[in-house]
């Protein structure tokens, strides 16, 4: 499978670890990557706030470049923010012919809106890719409890994204499972972390991050997996500050490493911490993965097996009870016999 990669402004900075780990996995999973030529900033939240035209034009220009170079080859956007903006432009262009023409006028080049836009998780939902990854997992993260965090931009609004569910998506879980890790059920997987305001209004955003970290830990997660540089940075980098604040309030620290899902894949496929960009994490992430790899493989019982076990147990109990009753019944009986004599 080939993708036209739209790196986005964070690829070489806050998202470096994502870029590194993802390309490692791609190399080993037969995902071929082209780079969108002459790509530009997607406009983040500022573009679409300024005007619909700017909100569409900035991403559309890069999409048009991708189309010119690679036709309808899907455009891959690792950053959820970029993904959301690129999809918005794509959907708008597909929604109405007039809008598409306007967009062409704005960017001053043809744009057919042929190519689809996908996020970092999508390639691994392709059965054959998933197969290859599974096969290449040489150092499984046995039973590592992972809370998959989607944030908002990947799953909402419905009109733009292509995800399985707004409230309880399962795609990232499916991908993370490939590493032998165990995704946990938790409530905050699609809650917004406020990353898009993390420069302009950090104070208001900290509580959001804190809640997400707390929920993950409460759900029994040992690690959080993300699919967006902004979310990842926001969770990973602010954990320390939040814990400082908590300490001041006399509350226990929220101690949980934050990985890009691609880092987990890479590490399980044998990448060194450097190759997987784990050395760049703020909350140290190496030891946990190393430890997980040494764990006993826990065999998850199928519902049938569980049922069988329950039934067996119940039978044993019943037998015991019968025996007891028999004994109880026997005792007085003997008494009578004796009386006869």
């Amino acid at each position: 499978m080939r993708y036209a990669n739209f790196p986005g402004c964070s690829a070489s900075t806050t998202g470096k670890a994502y870029t590194e780990s993802f390309s490692y996995v791609a190399r080993h999973a037969g995902i071929e990557i082209d780079e969108v030529p002459d790509w530009n900033c997607c406009g983040a939240s500022a573009g679409r706030l300024q005007s619909d035209d700017l909100g569409d034009a900035l991403p559309a220009r890069s999409l048009a470049n991708a189309e010119a170079a690679f036709g309808d080859e899907p455009v891959l956007a690792l950053c959820a923010g970029c993904y959301s903006n690129l999809r918005r432009a794509l959907v708008h262009a597909r929604e109405s012919e007039d809008r598409r023409r306007q967009i062409e006028a704005l960017i001053g080049q043809p744009y057919e809106a042929k190519a689809d836009v996908v996020c970092g998780i999508d390639p691994f939902l392709e059965p054959e890719v998933a197969q290859t990854v599974k096969a290449r997992v040489t150092q499984p993260l046995n039973g590592l409890k992972v809370a998959c965090y989607y944030g908002c931009a990947l799953v909402r609004p419905r009109a733009l994204t292509t995800f399985d569910d707004e409230e309880d998506p399962q795609s990232m879980e499916a991908v993370v499972k490939l590493t032998g890790a165990e995704p946990v059920e938790w409530g905050s997987k699609t809650e917004c972390c406020g990353a898009s305001h993390h420069v302009s209004n950090p104070t208001a955003m900290k509580p959001l991050v804190e809640r997400i970290l707390a929920d993950a830990i409460d759900a029994g997660a040992e690690a959080i997996a993300t699919a967006c540089p902004l979310c990842n940075m926001n969770l990973d980098m602010r954990e320390a500050e939040i814990n400082k604040a908590r300490a001041a309030r006399g509350e226990a620290p929220l101690d949980i490493p934050v990985y890009f899902f691609a880092q987990l894949l890479a590490s399980a496929m044998g990448a060194s911490d450097a190759e997987a960009g784990i050395t760049r994490n703020f909350v140290p992430g190496s030891s946990l993965l190393a430890e997980a790899k040494t764990r006993e493989v826990v065999v998850e019982l199928t519902p049938e097996q569980k049922k069988a076990a329950r039934i067996a147990a119940a039978k044993k109990q019943a037998a015991a009870r019968k025996a007891a009753q028999a004994a109880a019944a026997a005792a007085p009986a003997q008494g009578k016999e004796e009386a006869h004599e």
Binding site: E167, D168, E185, W186, G187, S188, D215, D218, G220
Partner: protein, 663 residues
């Protein structure tokens, strides 16, 4: 050459005030075929009636035009006069509306009089084309069919049967009773639901005039008011009810015990041969073919071995019967919306302790899975804090249905009351949009719940998440204070919307009536004909017509029964003679009228006709006068102009148009 009499009414000054009635009469005398024209102060009075009768005889008139109030007012009366006091056919009458549509809407005679003359001219023209019409007697089959055996169907059945008419109840499930026996207590009086509904069920079973067909569905309905031929499929029960004594041996011995109980909303299990609940009617078990080992895998047969009367019959088959009924009552009830598909933010069914209102009814019911103790399905502990969410599905066009389900506000309050009653010191939060309590003693009940300590929060729950300690974290807004609020609940009860039962659409087609946009059956008139449908002889009872509570349901069932009794009391009913009529010689058998008829009253038939003195067999359209309601849609669709509407025939209307246009 007809002899038309024109009778102009003064209606006191109502007409005479702004219409020169004498001038109208004078003008009428000049109109073609008018043999007499005269006026009277009150044409509808006894004296006025006699005047008409005498003149008709005196001038041997063969058509009558009465210029008076709206035909919607007195047409029927004047027809009666002709029918009873003259030998004129009552349909040789036209009414010119010179009051509602003339004298009352114009200021002076300059305008009123000429208009009145116009209207009379039109009526005269039409009258000339009127033909004698004859109603015929439609026999009435004195039996009623009730589709749906819930409390609505039961009430209607009892009322009709007590009036002395045989009734058949067709119920889809294995017992009658519907949802009411599943409820614990009923608002606002808090009397035990089963205690008041199960006696009515057994009353039905015992009633000599009531026949109950369970596991049955209506497959086909043909005919019309007074004479519906209904085909009913009674599914195989695999038990011979004539032999079965209902001893219950089979149930106790059936090895297939792990089937979720529908009656207990999946919170307990049942066997494959089962009675849904002890007071079920008929009080005999049925075998659930989908789960019975004998019927699925062909091995087991335990129930047959243990049955003392040999009533088990694995070879049993569906029985299909066709019988004739005079009237049909639709009492098909409702279902609760499947919230698990729609509300991922409430856990989409992943959290065992987020339950529906009906599940709560079972939990709190003494004969329920927990014997009346409110315990969390997840761990069997008693919840200390409970959250009630109203309008789940209701008033939610985005995810659920746009309408209000009417009963939830009250049973929500009831649930709050019951929780605080059974869990001393328990905290109950009710999240609501509005509190709607229109009903006798309803608002009092709600206020009382407030005083008992239920905390009402005005806002929708946005999200429910489950914490590791088992708490359900409910996030909402108290819109009155503007605070975002959070409740750590042990249990959440969702008061879900009432929706039409599955199969309503199909049934509507089968019985040939309409559903509203929400999928409930449409009444003939929202205010004045609330239990009738637009199809004669077809009536509505209970939630089949729209969401409502038990009092309203029972009241409506009684009303429907009254309508049915009114119909069945008649030996026969008079057919409406103003129906479509097909001229065989012109009919090309194209079937356009068949497609267009909303009552399926027109059918194509083979007919042997005499055409220029030769016998030929052709396909022609035929109108069933019992079904035809006289809308005339077919007459316009008919290309060769073979179809015409009696009482409003083409020539008559054309002449009426001409009379006005050329005057």
């Amino acid at each position: 050459m007809s002899r038309i009499g024109v009778f102009v009414c003064h209606c006191g000054t109502n007409i005479a005030g702004t219409v020169d009635v004498e001038a109208v009469a004078d003008a009428a005398r000049q109109m073609p075929n008018v043999a007499y024209a005269g006026t009277n102060k009150y044409m509808c009075s006894a004296q006025g009636q006699d005047y008409i009768v005498d003149i008709i005889k005196e001038h041997n008139l063969d058509r009558v035009v009465i210029a008076s109030c709206s035909p919607r007012m007195h047409e029927r009366l004047f027809r009666k006069v002709l029918a009873e006091k003259t030998d004129l056919n009552p349909y040789l009458l036209e009414v010119a509306n010179i009051r509602e549509q003339c004298s009352w809407v114009h200021k002076d005679k300059q305008i009123g009089t000429p208009k009145a003359i116009n209207l009379v001219a039109m009526a005269v023209a039409k009258a000339d084309c009127d033909t004698q019409l004859f109603t015929h007697e439609i026999p009435v089959t004195k039996r009623a069919l009730i589709i749906g055996g819930g409390i609505a169907g039961i009430q209607a059945a009892l009322d009709i049967a007590d009036a002395g008419f045989p009734v058949t109840i067709v119920e889809r499930k294995t017992t009658i009773g519907g949802k009411m026996p599943m409820l614990d207590k009923t608002f606002p009086t808090l009397d035990c639901s089963a205690c008041i509904s199960t006696p009515k069920m057994s009353e039905c079973e015992a009633h000599p005039l009531i026949e109950i067909k369970t596991l049955s569905e209506v497959e086909k309905v043909e005919g019309y008011i007074g004479n519906f031929d209904v085909t009913i499929r009674e599914k195989a029960k695999y038990i011979d009810y004539d032999k079965c004594t209902g001893c219950g041996m089979c149930e106790t011995k059936c090895p297939q015990k792990k089937i979720p109980s529908e009656f207990n909303q999946g919170m307990s299990t049942r066997t494959a041969v089962y009675k849904p609940f002890p007071q079920a009617v008929p009080s005999k078990p049925t075998i659930d073919a989908d789960h019975c080992r004998m019927l699925t895998e062909g091995k087991c047969g335990v129930c047959a071995k243990v049955c003392p009367t040999g009533a088990i019959d694995y070879q049993d088959v569906d029985r299909v019967t066709t019988e004739r009924y005079g009237a049909i009552v639709l009492a098909t009830g409702y279902e609760l919306i499947d919230w698990t598909r729609l509300y991922g933010e409430y856990g989409g069914g992943r959290y065992a302790d987020v339950i529906s209102g009906l599940q709560f009814e079972r939990l709190v019911n003494a004969s329920g899975p927990t014997e009346g103790h409110i315990l969390r399905p997840s761990d069997g502990t008693e919840p200390k804090t409970m959250v009630i969410v109203k309008c789940v599905g209701s008033r939610d066009p985005h995810k659920g249905v746009p309408y209000c389900s009417r009963a939830c506000c009250m049973y929500g309050a009831k649930h709050a009351h019951q929780f605080m009653d059974k869990v001393p010191g328990g905290k109950c939060f009710v999240f609501y949009m509005d509190v709607r309590t229109p009903g006798k003693n309803y608002d009092e009940f709600y206020m009382n719940t407030l005083h008992e300590g239920a905390r009402y929060i005005r806002g929708r729950i946005s999200k429910i998440t489950r914490r590791s300690d088992g708490k359900l974290v409910c996030l909402g807004e108290d819109t009155l204070s503007g605070n975002v609020v959070e409740v750590d609940a042990d249990m959440v009860v969702l008061e879900t919307a009432m929706v039409p039962p599955e199969g309503a659409k199909k049934l509507a087609q089968t019985v040939n009536t309409q559903l509203g946009p929400e999928g409930f059956f449409t009444e003939a008139h929202p205010k004045l004909r609330p239990v009738e449908t637009n199809t004669g002889g077809l009536y509505l009872a209970g939630t089949a017509q729209g969401p409502k509570d038990i009092p309203d349901t029972v009241a409506q069932a009684g009303a429907a029964a009254a309508k049915v009794i009114g119909l069945l009391c008649k030996q026969s009913i008079e057919s409406n003679p103003m129906v479509a009529h097909v001229d065989d010689s012109k009919c090309s058998g194209c079937g356009a009228c068949v497609d267009i008829c909303p009552y399926s009253a027109v059918t194509l038939v083979e007919k042997t006709l005499r055409e220029n003195s030769r016998k030929v067999t052709r396909t022609v359209a035929q109108v069933n006068e019992g079904l035809c309601q006289g809308c005339g849609a077919c007459t316009v669709a008919c290309r060769p102009g073979a179809s015409d509407l009696l009482g409003f025939n083409d020539e008559g209307i054309m002449r009426e148009v001409e009379a006005y246009a050329t005057r």
